[in-house]
Every structure is written in C-alpha cells, then in structure tokens.
C-alpha cells in the first residue's frame, strides 16, 4: 500500500508500510508448535485421569476463545453461549445415536449444526444492543433448553446417554476424545488468529473501537458481526460436543447451564479482553484454581465472581493487557502496525517537496 499523491495535503504523509509480524513471532510459532506436539504425545504415556483432566482444560480454552471473539473483538457480550454448547452436546447424540454417524465425525457436524442454528438467530437478536443484547442471548439459550427439556425424544429433563460413544472401546474412545479436544482448542486459537489476520479482522478491530465510526467508514458491521456470531456458535458447538463425548451423558440443565458462559467470562476477564493471549493465560489460571479450590464449590464460585467484578471494574484489559502495556509484547501477530520507511517530512529539505512547501504558504 502506498500513499496517494494527487493532492498536496496527502504528499505530507511519509512513506509507510503496514507490518504484522516481527522476528519474535517466528520463535512464538516454534514454541506453539512444540507445545502442541508435546500435548499430542500425552495419551501415549499419561493415565486416563490425566487425559480426561486435559480434555476439560481444552474445552474451557476453546469456549473462552469463542467468547472472547464475540465480546473482545466484535463487542457482542453474550451471556447465552450455553445455547450452542448445549446444541453441540445434543448434536453428538442426534448425529451419532440417531443418524448413526461415527461419534468422532459427529463432533465436527455438531459444530456445523450449532452454526446453522445461529445463522437465523443472529439477525434477530442483533436488534438488541449492549446489555439488552446480552439478555437476548440468554433468552435464546432458555428457549433451546426448554425445548430440549420438554420433549420426550431428547430424554426430557433426565437426558440421554450417548450410546454411539459409550460403545466404543475405551482404548479408542479416551485418546480419540483427547485428540478431538486438542483439535478444538488449537482450532479455536487458529480460527481467531486467521480471522483477525483477514479483511474481516480489520473490520472487527474497527467495530471493537467504535461501531458507528466503522459503519461510516464503509465497514459492513452487520455482516462482520453475523460472521463472528456464527463462527463462535460453531466453536461452542464443537466444544460442547467434546464435553458430551467426555462425559458420555447429556442432560438439559447441565448442557445449557449459564455456568458455561460464566466460566468463559471469568477466564477472559482475568486473562485479558480482546487478545488471543488473554484467554490462554486466563484458562491456565482458571484451571489451576479449579484443581485446587473446586472442592469448596459455592464459595469458589463466589470468589471467582468477586475477582471478575474487581477485574472488570478496575482492570478491564486483564493480566495480558497489563503485560502488553508494560512491555509491549504481542505473541500473536494479529495487529497491524504502521512503520515509517522514510524520515518524517519536517526533517527533509523543502526543496525535495515543493508542493508541500506550497501548502504551508497557501
């Protein structure tokens, strides 16, 4: 991209280029691949309990990435992502048990199912803004939950066992579920990463900063938001499907629980809003807390609530926001930086730029 040179004012703009990657990002990429490869070896040596614990971690990470994509990038604060988690969980049952497709494949299809359902719902609830949008997403989740809980086919309030998955031998089911969970977690990071690097990413950043200004600069705000809403539904659906595979049992109250969204919000608020790194750090912290404190149940949730309120009120950019501000570190090259290729105009001799000098006298 080069600056236009037709008008005298524009010539005052120095030559620049847009940079997105730095040398450090190569090391980050190597580290990222190394971590993923290391995690991929876990089922070969670890016990079943360990892999199952990691599955929980991966699903929370994916959930947080999806929530952050909505809230942190598109400005869509949802408290109803449990709708798509539940649809994904029931999707595995529908696609695996009813349609007879292999449960490993049905995880992906469950995500697609969630996305398809999100497509008409998005435009409807986009009529609501801000906090009212948030409650609107909650209504949608309640509607889906009530349907699932009230009809006989889905097992009503007591739910269903996912037979297609339960029948798989343990030595394929446990590692299979683990790899699916890993794929959903890594996939959620890559999905957000490539989405942000695309044209849509630029639109999203504009929307996050100022909805109205983005619209008047020619960004199709509606389309960008709908895309993000559907993508997030896909991610949450696939994540919910993995949860169901891991538990082998689905039940409406648990599958459509507001707690899914609460976990996502805690993770993102603690880790950092509107960054890929934030949900990563947040999930590690949240998971560490979960492992040590979850025996306290209610008081644990109370503590998380207090932390979230304090963080949201006092430090809304979270831990990673602090790191970014203090040391200017960005692990994922999704930002666009303007780099000047030549010194700024005032350092040049006026003879170089006669038209620039002319504007000054005019």
């Amino acid at each position: 991209m080069t600056p236009p040179a037709e008008t005298p004012q524009a010539t005052a703009v120095p030559a620049f280029r847009v940079a997105r990657s730095a040398r450090m990002h190569r090391y980050v990429l190597v580290a990222f691949v190394a971590v993923v490869v290391a995690l991929a070896t876990v089922p070969l040596w670890a016990e079943t309990a360990t892999t199952r614990t990691l599955v929980t971690f991966f699903t929370l990470l994916a959930l947080a990435q999806m929530w952050n994509l909505l809230g942190g990038y598109a400005g869509l604060i949802s408290v109803g992502q449990q709708a798509y988690v539940g649809i994904g969980a029931y999707g595995v049952w529908l696609i695996g048990d009813v349609l007879g497709i292999h449960p490993f494949v049905s995880v992906l299809l469950a995500g697609v199912l969630a996305a398809l359902i999100a497509l008409p719902i998005g435009p409807l609830i986009f009529r609501l803004k801000g906090g009212y949008f948030a409650i609107g997403t909650w209504v949608v989740a309640e509607v889906v939950r009530l349907v699932v809980a009230n009809i006989q086919a889905t097992g009503g309030g007591s739910g269903k066992t996912i037979m297609s998955a339960a029948r798989l031998p343990m030595e394929t089911r446990v590692p299979g579920t683990y790899y699916l969970a890993l794929a959903v977690a890594v996939g959620s990071i890559l999905l957000v990463y490539f989405l942000l690097r695309s044209r849509v990413g630029l639109a999203l950043t504009a929307i996050r900063d100022n909805d109205l200004a983005a619209q008047s600069s020619g960004v199709n705000v509606f389309r960008a938001k709908l895309l993000v809403y559907v993508v997030a539904a896909f991610g949450c659906g696939a994540m919910g499907a993995v949860v169901a595979m891991n538990l082998l049992r689905i039940q409406p109250t648990a599958a459509f629980s507001i707690n899914w969204t609460a976990y996502a919000i805690f993770i993102v608020v603690i880790g950092g809003f509107g960054t890929i790194e934030g949900p990563l750090i947040g999930s590690v912290i949240y998971f560490a807390l979960l492992q040590t404190l979850s025996q306290y149940g209610t008081s644990y949730m109370l503590l998380l609530g207090v932390i979230a309120v304090i963080m949201a009120a006092k430090a809304p950019r979270g831990i990673w926001g602090f790191v970014e501000k203090r040391w200017d570190i960005h692990l994922f090259p999704v930002r666009r930086e303007l780099l000047l290729e030549s010194p700024p105009p005032e350092e040049r001799k006026p003879a170089d730029r006669p038209d620039a000098a002319a504007t000054e006298t005019a």
Binding site: L124, A134, W138, V139, E142, L146, V147, T298, L302, V309
Partner: protein
C-alpha cells in the same frame, strides 16, 4: 370460561412482571445501564425479608418494609461505590460487572441460606379469592399485587413528570453533560435511580416470595421476564412495561393451558421473539437508543 379465567390470571401475573421490569427500565433510562443482577437483587430482597422475619418478631409486613428500605440503601451504595466507575467507560464493563454481581449474589445466598426453596407466609391472604361471576374467580392476593404494581408505576410516572428531582432524572437521561452543566450531580442522580430501582424490585421480589416458593437460583429468570416486558412494552415507556408484562403473563398462562405446564414459559419467550422480529421497538417506544 376456563380460558378467560386463565387469561385473567395472566393479566394479574403481568402486573408482577411489570413490577420487576420497572426498575430495570428506570436504570436503563437514566444511565443506559443494563443491570444483569436485577433479578438476583429482587430475590436477595426476599431473603432479607425472610431473615428479618426469622430473626425479629416483627411480622411479615414490617419485615418486608424494612427489606425494601434496606435495598434502597444498598442500591445507592452499590451505584456510587461500584457501578458509577463503570459508566461512561466502554459498553462492556457494566455488563461484566453486573454479571459478576449476579454470580456473587446467587452463590452468596446459597452459602447463607442453602439452595432449598423458601416461602414467605402472609397468612390467609394467599388463598382467599373473590368471585367476579358464577364461573370467574380471581385470588385476592394476585389482585392486590396487580393493584400495587399499577400504583407503583403511576407513582413513578408522577415522580418523573411532576417533581424537581424527577425532572433532574429526565434531564440526565436526555443529555448527561448538559444536565451536569445545569448543576445536576449526575453521580448522585445515578445513585438515587438505582436506589429507587432496587426498592421497587425488592417489593417485586417479596410479593413473588409470598406468592410462590423461591430459591437463590431464580434471579436470572426474573431478569429475563423483566427484560422481555421492557422490550415488548417499548424502551423509555414506564407504562409500556406494564403492557409488556401483561402480554408476557397472558402468553405464559395461555401457553401453559394450551400445551401443558412445561410449555408456558416457552410460549412467553416465543411471543417475545415474535415481537422482537416484527416490532423491535416494542409497543410504546419513546427512545430508540439502546
């Protein structure tokens, strides 16, 4: 005649929904804040009344009145001590903070009172009914709740239209900066608005608690019903929330009558989504800004 009876129950139920909705609408109108903990604060008030009733020998009326006054105070302190810091920053902070509050209240109530269902006993009033015709009867209690709702909404409307303080509320709602330039202390106005909103929702929570059993997990449902009443009624219209509440109440009771008890709330949601699809500004919208 059955259906008329059921619809009538729905209308009366709508009064209670409207009472929950009024505070939500007031706070949004004055400071563009959507309080996701609104329903939980109503349930909290019911627990406060229950606690007072159990601790002191003062009777259900005085315990309830005390709970309303306490919630008024909590509202003012909450707004000035916490929520004011989130207003005027970005849109996401108030949503996240009030969502966190909702989680805190729910889990705090479970810790204090357990997750069991509780009841507030108002004596004979709960079951007495009045016959309108041979086949039509309404309970005294739902009727009283409805009348209280109408009186509260009318009083709030009068307060906003006729008093100096009400004018300050409306001025702040229209233009915060201009109101501040005219010497209004916005922070104080916000505190008062939240205090009034919580006093009203406290009343709603207590009236609900007398009507049915209640437990710490019910707040979100109350929030959702209140929200549906606000949106259907039309944002910015206090009387609209009454109409929205009635539409929701009638939808729920008729839905339950037609498809079975489990489907009543579902039908209410569907009616709400239909209104959102075809008349997103609601029935009596005054302001369009969200």
């Amino acid at each position: 005649m059955d259906w008329v009876n059921v619809a009538l129950q729905g209308v009366l139920l709508g009064g209670l929904f409207a009472l929950f909705a009024t505070g939500l609408a007031l706070v949004f109108g004055v400071m563009r804040l959507v309080n996701l903990a609104h329903g939980d604060l109503g349930i909290l008030a019911a627990f406060v009344a229950l606690f007072l009733l159990d601790s002191f020998d003062i009777g259900v009326f005085w315990a309830s009145l005390a709970a309303v006054v306490i919630m008024f105070g909590i509202g003012y302190v909450l707004q000035r001590g916490l929520l004011n810091f989130t207003i005027g920053t970005d849109d996401t902070r108030p949503i996240l903070v009030t969502f966190g509050l909702s989680i805190i209240i729910q889990n705090g109530l479970v810790m204090w009172f357990s997750a069991d269902s509780q009841g507030l006993d108002a004596g004979r009033l709960e079951n007495a009914s009045v016959r309108l015709t041979d086949q039509l009867a309404v309970g005294w209690y739902p009727l009283i709740v409805f009348v209280i709702a109408v009186v509260v909404i009318a009083a709030l409307q009068l307060f906003l239209n006729r008093t100096t303080l009400g004018r300050a509320f409306r001025a702040t709602s229209d233009d915060q900066e201009a109101a501040e330039l005219m010497g209004i202390n916005n922070r104080h106005i916000y505190g008062l608005a939240m205090a009034i909103a919580l006093a009203i929702v406290a009343l709603a929570g207590i009236l609900l608690a007398v009507r049915t059993t209640f437990d710490p997990s019910q707040g979100p449902f109350r929030l959702i019903f209140a929200f549906e009443a606000v949106i259907m009624g039309g944002m910015g219209s206090i009387w609209g929330t009454l109409i929205g509440g009635i539409v929701l109440g009638v939808s729920q009771t008729l839905g339950a009558q037609a498809f079975g008890a489990g489907w009543g709330i579902f039908v209410g949601h569907v009616v709400f989504l239909t209104v959102l699809a075809f008349k997103p500004s609601g029935f009596f919208a005054k302001t369009v800004t969200a």
